[in-house]
Symmetry: C2
Subunit: 170 residues, 2 copies
């Protein structure tokens, strides 16, 4: 397979993959494109390679910067901005986990805390089922919270080395 074709396919697949995870297709495609580009790209390059408008490119690049997956690069002597993606995939994963935890898991746990304080007789089956469900979800959520927190703080070697061994031997 030729490089151009492989790149094409990777960008397309990464885009499709993203849509299953609540990430907009173009954003994922820009990220993919930057991941496999040795040099920083300008907005023009991105627009051209993905066939998207200036506004679309701008908006999604900013979103990627907001997620800290992409950063602006100033190239001396050039007027315009360039963009580059973090190439260390473990950093990328940790960054995504960190952001999604903050944006989604934390608020959810807060809500569950509220909901577990529903008033009512616990001998009422309706009430019991509700509080049981909420408390179970809360427990699992809190466990996920701790696990993800550890993952976020873990460095690559620790994760690839120790965790793997731990999982394998248990």
């Amino acid at each position: 397979m030729k490089l151009a074709e492989a790149k094409q396919q990777f960008v397309a697949s990464w885009g499709a993959f993203g849509t299953h995870w609540g990430i907009n297709r173009t954003m994922a495609q820009i990220h993919a494109l930057l991941l496999v580009s040795p040099n920083p790209l300008g907005a023009e390059d991105i627009m051209e390679q993905l066939n998207i408008s200036r506004g679309n490119a701008n908006m999604n690049i900013r979103e990627l910067i907001d997620w800290a997956l992409v950063e602006r690069v100033i190239i001396p002597g050039e007027r315009k901005e360039f963009f580059t993606a973090e190439k260390d995939i473990w950093k990328v994963v940790r960054q995504i986990v960190r952001e999604r935890k903050k944006r989604e898991l934390d608020p959810m746990l807060k809500l569950l805390g509220h909901l577990s304080e529903v008033e009512g007789d616990k001998r009422d089956k309706e009430v019991k089922t509700f509080t049981d469900a909420i408390n179970n979800i809360k427990r699992v959520g809190e466990q996920a919270d701790r696990t993800l927190e550890t993952l976020i703080k873990a460095d690559e070697n620790w994760f690839l080395g120790s965790l793997m061994k731990i999982f394998k031997t248990s």
Copy 2:
């Protein structure tokens, strides 16, 4: 907070939560509703409580059954079908992980295997950057694959007990 209100809020939030994870709002709401319902519900109940059409209810219930998160229940003496959700949240998590791994991670790893065989001179910076990126993603993906596989097979006590200790002390 009253039960009815709390239920309401839980169903709504679970629905919103789902949309961030590529799950359609109604499907997540039906799941939430069944999670907090002590008894199996009929299609009518679901339609009524969520204010949705028969077609919508039917489609999303079937999707939930397809994911093995909900199952049909036959109540003796009743003509129509009832539905109930798995209440053990760890089972639910494992089931979701199992399905998404099968539907998304496995195909992605297969594709990455293909793409890593791109032809070209490795001293070409373009080629090197591409294969490096693909191989890095592949490695991380394979690690995730192993970890998730272990999680799928793990029983609740093992996960809540050992893993937590392991993470805490490392």
